[in-house]
Symmetry: C2
Subunit: 126 residues, 2 copies
DNA sequence: CCGCCATTGTTATTTTATAACATAATCGGA
DNA sequence: TCCGATTATGTTATAAAATAACAATGGCGG
């Protein structure tokens, strides 16, 4: 892991809310990260190796909170619109059903995304 | 449906590849649409009523190809990276399993996204 | 006719991501 | 050791996507 990747990864692991690339940049500016590309390059490498996930629906990035999240099964994210926390899960049964749907259509999937937005358990009653 | 919404919706129905808001703008410029906001406003209204879907992973928009796609079940998109076509499906069993996962976590979902990228049936052999 | 409200139009700005190019560090073989 | 290739970095500029702020229009009910 290169220095820039380490900086980005350690920052992401400290939070359970997705960060935008530019907020990562701001947070790391005093540690030598000065340009968006430095952040995006680090993020892309981290994503490639499964250490970080991109949250498509909010243009954010989170560290993977599961072990061995590599391409085994799709990650399912629950994104709270109030506290902004992201919770990551996998569900082999759902994954298998999605694969079956793709196979039935002869679609060769190389990346799968499942995201939900709504209110988390602690935000829904308050 | 307002004039701008009609323009955007009719354009989206003519294609099976997702369009970006700015390519919609370009296509409708000679019909009086001049600013991004006119497109985004129309898109938001169309999305609200389920006539159009946003494809999160590519910042694109497609007309719904199913009947009564309203909030009943989640839409599942297969996005070909070669021909760029988007195919939309629903699968009640998958939808039910995702709801069960959310319920088990006490998460109140108001929007669900499932997207796959890869090669479609016709592009994978060629 | 008048006030209300939804729709539209316009300019400017913010946010997100990449292009293009230059530089430095690393590493393996001649 | 020297060289060439690859990999990582840094920098500036630009493209792409989305929204803010504000003004003007156009029905429509009273
Ligand atoms: Zn993960
Ligand atoms: Zn919450
Ligand atoms: Zn649909
Ligand atoms: Zn295809």
């Amino acid at each position: 892991m290169t220095p820039n990747e380490t900086l980005v990864y350690n920052l992401l692991r400290q939070t359970d809310t997705p960060l935008s690339a530019y907020s990562i940049l701001d947070a790391l500016r005093d540690q030598g990260v000065r340009a968006p590309l430095q952040v995006y390059r680090a993020l892309n490498k981290l994503i490639e190796r499964g250490a970080v996930h991109r949250i498509e629906s909010i243009n954010g990035f989170v560290a993977c909170s599961l072990t061995n999240c590599g391409e085994r099964a799709v990650s399912i994210f629950m994104l709270c619109t109030k506290c902004e926390r992201a919770a990551e899960f996998t569900d082999p049964a759902i994954d298998q059903k999605i694969d079956a749907l793709a196979n039935a259509r002869l679609f060769a999937a190389d990346h799968k995304v499942i995201e939900m937005t709504g209110l988390c358990a602690s935000c829904r009653d308050s």
